[in-house]
Amino acid sequence: MDADGARTPGHQPGRGRRRVAAVVVGAGLLAAGGAAVTTALAAQLPAPPTPAASAAPSSRDGAAGAGRGVPAPGPSATPDDRGAAPTSAASAPAGAPSAAATGVPRPQSVSIPSLHVSSRLLTLGLASDGTIAVPAKGPNYDRAAWFDGSPRPGAVGPAVIEGHVDGANGPSVFHELGRIQKGARIDVTRTDGSVVRFVVDGVASYPKDDFPITVVYANTDRPELRLITCGGAFDRRTGHYVDNTVVFAHLA
């Protein structure tokens, strides 16, 4: 009885303490949860910019463009070289001079002042799936890379430089590429210290499953440059973006 009596009054303050504790814990959870949500939202990174359809370069070779946002050639298009194409194509001797043979130095770094991009270049070849190999996870992940199956920048032809749009550290070297403006400057420094300057003709977005290699990698009459990164929607099932963003530029 005594024990009960001692215990019974003891129950009341005990329940009160538990209620207070519940409120404290509840308030704590609310605060912590709120902080977590706020943190997650604050850490939300802006998605890669998508090039505007109007920013796409004109199709110089008259090929049936497979990409989204490849408009008809505008009045400002470069002089139509369609008339020159038949003769040059028909009479082109087998074995056009390859880029490496002309003694053009290898590329070392690329900079795009308008996007505050500057990167030392890796040199990469083809991946096993036939696409261009990309910088692997690790210290070089956020560097841009020159594709060594393409001409060296400054040689006649479509030199190809690629870079990741994002990675484990968030935005990567070419995250802002879709924002580049026509007329913007791209500088490539070569191993001999010389710099070749390119001027942007436009930027386009192409679905990876319908990538127009006959537009992007076609032979050119002058030194040109292609910058490639990812864009569009991200397919969590495949772990890849569904589009490629491609910048077209020519030697200034």
Partner: protein, 274 residues
Amino acid sequence: MKTSYRAALAVPAVSLAAMLAMALPASAASDSGSNEAKLAPVALNDADGSGVAMTTVKDDVLTVTFTAEGLLPDNPHAAHIHFGAEARHECPAASDDKDGSGTLNTTEGGPAYGDIVVSLTKTGDTSPRSGLAVDRFDTAKGGKISYQRGSIKVSHEVGEAIIAGKSVVVIHGVDHNGDGKYDGDTKSDLDPSLPTEATDPALCGVLAVSQMSAMPSGGAQTGSGSTAGVQDTGLLAAGGLAMAAGAVLVLRRRRDVVPAQQVGQHVDRTADDR
């Protein structure tokens, strides 16, 4: 003793492997290559079109991609790779119009580009035998064709000719009289059951060596998705759950304020009963 014997054997084995490794890239390079043709209207035939063809050959296996536009719309267009050891490895000129008809048929183009060596069909056989398999060639919807096919087995001679820049892509099918279909009194030099319009060469281009020494099949997988969509779903979900749990605890406490006395009375009553 035994170990040194093995070592002695290993030295020539390793050096032989090294020699093989050094020799391999050189021979592989000559067996693979990328080529490109700018497709332009064939002389005299007035096809107002253009296009680009690209090929990659590796170990006698061919991949072909071409796009063309300005073809006779909504009609099938036979497309081939031509090559002849004795041919000029070029597209025909007006001077190839031997019969003086004012147009060039496929046979008249022969001295320029040679015979059919690959038929660019959508499905099935790709040999010269399918050269006129009209139902297996692309139809130019709106005058455009976008073609891609890989794993085409070719002979070593043909593979080497393509890599060397000696082969020619020809897309056939023109509309000389401009009436929107293949017709006319002149029969095809290849198949007398067809009008010559159906088989005359429309677009042509020499598959010259590409400026790309290796041709990618597409773009590049340049992203991890870390900046795509809603990123920190885990943290968002955990935070949301914590907030919900906290809200439940706090609200329950508030509701408890009134019933608390009842609980107390109940406890008292229990004590009285005793």
